[in-house]
């Protein structure tokens, strides 16, 4: 279907149609000085007039153009928080008369529409699909949540200095994987269809077909966003080049700054490490197994009895960066980094993956 125009004043129709179809509607909202995803009733709760300011280890909100609701690029959460949730029960174990029973916990799908999904996060979702949803051991929990999502993307028209999606070829234009995609212009949205369900929803909205000027303006806004990006990663020699850096002094240098606190991995939309924790009842009759996000920066991550396979921060940082930019390609046929820049912003000491990658690929 050709692109359509939805006037901003008609935006609540989108919420209405989705809700009528049984979806919970979630969107980024302003909370605690950033954007957090939350269930919202209508467009009034979107971050109208807010813009973010991101830099390494730095995030602030400012007032901007009151007529715009998607100028706030992103907060710490990505789609990962919806599909591979931070903490969830895996199973309940009971002991009855010496027998063990195992009850798997798999969530019932709850139809959920996410409004305002960024290109980088869609790309990241595609990557997590390869990890969790494909292959012999696909994860039932991820799949249940994933299958219940309806995705309304927003092509970015504003980038942060930390963003480098253009260089990773994941954005700022959403490349697919969405049901509907919006481009925000001053008074209207250009709206594109990415799936049959999206088309069917669009048909219920008060839209008109987009004229050439609107399409052109939308295209230019997204292009300008790409051009505004200053960071990037030179991927021409990846994955190979990184495997040659084993003894590069940069690993030690970054380890002296790195806190090993794991924030980068927690906010990264593709990181999938997790561990399983056991919570037995005091009487020993029952136990719950919980899956939690873990991080390759944890000392326990590589622990095997008596030793740590990755004993120092430099080993852990090396595993992380190499995994993101190189080994992921060997493992899953795609980069593990989509260029969202979150790890740069949310690192308490502002370590910058693009800067580190560039330094590592230079001869020491």
């Amino acid at each position: 279907m050709a692109a359509q125009v939805l006037q901003k004043r008609d935006m609540d129709a989108l919420f209405g149609v989705l809700q009528a179809r049984g979806f919970r509607t979630l969107a980024p909202t302003v909370q605690d000085g950033t954007a957090m995803w939350r269930e919202v009733a209508d467009s009034a709760e979107l971050p109208w007039g807010w813009r973010d300011e991101q830099a390494p280890g730095h995030y602030r909100l400012h007032q901007g153009d009151a007529g715009r609701c998607f100028d706030l690029v992103h907060g710490p959460q990505s789609l990962k928080n919806q599909t591979f949730v931070a903490e969830e029960p895996l199973m309940r174990v009971k002991r009855v008369d010496g027998e063990l029973t195992f009850e798997s916990c798999v969530p019932e799908p709850v139809p959920t529409a996410l409004i305002g999904v960024r290109a980088c996060d869609l790309a990241a979702l595609g990557i997590q699909d390869r990890v969790f949803a494909e292959g012999e051991h696909a994860d039932a929990r991820f799949r249940s949540r994933r299958s219940s999502l309806l995705l309304v993307a927003v092509h970015c028209t504003r980038a942060q200095p930390t963003c480098f999606c253009a260089s990773m070829q994941t954005g700022p234009e959403a490349k697919g994987g969405y049901d509907l995609a919006l481009t925000e212009l001053d008074d209207r949205f250009l709206i594109q269809v990415g799936s049959n369900q999206g088309a069917s929803i669009l048909s219920e909205l008060p839209t008109e077909s987009a004229d050439c000027r609107t399409q052109e303006r939308a295209r230019r806004a997204v292009e300008a966003c790409a051009e505004s990006q200053t960071r990037g990663i030179d991927r021409s020699n990846l994955p190979g080049a990184l495997y040659e850096t084993d003894n590069h002094p940069r690993w030690q240098q970054v380890a002296e700054r790195c806190l090993s606190c794991a924030n980068c991995t927690m906010v990264c939309p593709t990181c999938f490490c997790h561990r399983v924790e056991e919570t037995p009842s005091l009487d020993g009759e029952a136990s719950e197994r919980t899956r939690l996000w873990d991080s390759c920066f944890s000392s326990e991550h590589s622990y095997i009895h008596g030793k740590n396979m990755r004993p120092d921060t430099k080993h852990r940082y090396r595993l992380w960066l190499t995994h993101k930019l190189a080994s992921w390609i060997d493992q899953f046929g795609t980069s593990g980094c989509v260029g969202c820049g979150r790890c740069i912003t949310w690192c308490p000491v502002g370590i910058d993956i693009t800067e580190e990658a560039a330094a590592l690929m230079e001869k020491p």
């Binding site: 174990v93 010496g98 051991h137 994860d139 495997y243 990181c271 056991e278 873990d294 080993h315 595993l319």
Partner: protein, 276 residues
């Protein structure tokens, strides 16, 4: 399996002590259908779960041709293994598997096999050795080289004596430190290489032990002309899931759980004992 974490009750049919702190368990899955379906190869592992405690990866040491009773040899080293050690016949565990890639037992048929093990944790390869002896005529010369730190660390002494009796088989032992009852080699395991003949193009090497030992051994063997792609190493990493989801067991670009635990030396060489 819809849920990769789903566990199945397995009952301890038999428990025997190999030596202090090392036990061999024979487990029987409760579910008949599952038991029938359970097919594995030597060197694969199961995740073994103790209620209220946790789950650990443990190699299957029994023979793939008898999958009704699964044999596991477990050394008590910590939390979960300790809890397994406290269990007795009739107790129920949780089990899922089999996972990972095992020893190249079939492709090694017709070849000489050199088994190099070190330290205490050589259970994963014991199953493979037994497998070959049960099919002794399919293999060429079998040479078992085993190194320990002190004479007291030598486990399975009877098994070594048993194996030694087979035809066309050599068993060589080395201890870093001397001891009164130790009448084998004193020194590191790589020094035993000088005592055995290895035919570069006819031998497959299987190794299990500390990474640093395996790396040294591989470097020695390389000098003796052994090709990298004929050496196989059993890799140990922390594993939470066993199926490539949890990320813990990465070693360079590999997941030890699904690309291993048995891995070809040419692949893992850059990542051994280097903080990967």
């Amino acid at each position: 399996m819809a849920d990769p974490y789903a566990l199945y009750p397995a009952r301890i049919v038999d428990k025997s002590e190999e030596s202090p702190g090392i036990y061999t368990y024979r487990l029987r899955l409760d579910d008949d259908a599952l038991r029938e379906r359970f097919v594995f190869e030597g060197g694969q592992f199961n995740m073994i779960y103790v209620a209220g405690v946790g789950e650990v990866p443990i190699s299957i040491v029994s023979d793939p041709e008898d999958s009704h009773l699964l044999e596991h040899t477990i050394r008590v080293v910590g939390r979960v293994s300790g809890a397994i050690g406290n269990l007795k016949e009739g107790d129920v565990l949780g089990l899922r598997g089999p996972y990972g890639k095992g020893w190249p037992l079939e492709t090694s048929e017709g070849k000489d096999v050199v088994v190099i093990t070190g330290g205490l944790g050589c259970a994963p390869v014991v199953g493979a050795i037994e497998y070959m002896f049960r099919r002794r005529d399919r293999y060429g010369a079998i040479k078992i080289l085993h190194g320990v730190k002190t004479p007291n660390d030598l486990l399975y002494r009877e098994r070594f004596d048993e194996w030694r009796k087979h035809e066309n088989t050599e068993v060589l032992l080395a201890s870093d430190q001397p001891g009164k009852t130790w009448h084998y080699h004193v020194g590191v395991v790589t020094e035993l290489f000088d005592e055995v003949e290895i035919r570069p193009d006819f031998a497959v090497v299987m190794m299990c032990g500390p990474e640093i030992m395996m790396r040294m051994a591989a470097q020695h063997l390389e000098k003796r002309g052994i090709r990298h792609d004929t050496m196989f190493l059993s890799i140990e990493r922390n594993m939470q899931c066993g199926v490539g989801l949890c990320g813990h067991c990465q070693i360079g670009p590999y997941f030890a759980c699904k690309d291993g635990p048995v891995m070809r030396y040419d692949r893992v060489a850059p990542y051994l004992a280097g903080g990967w």
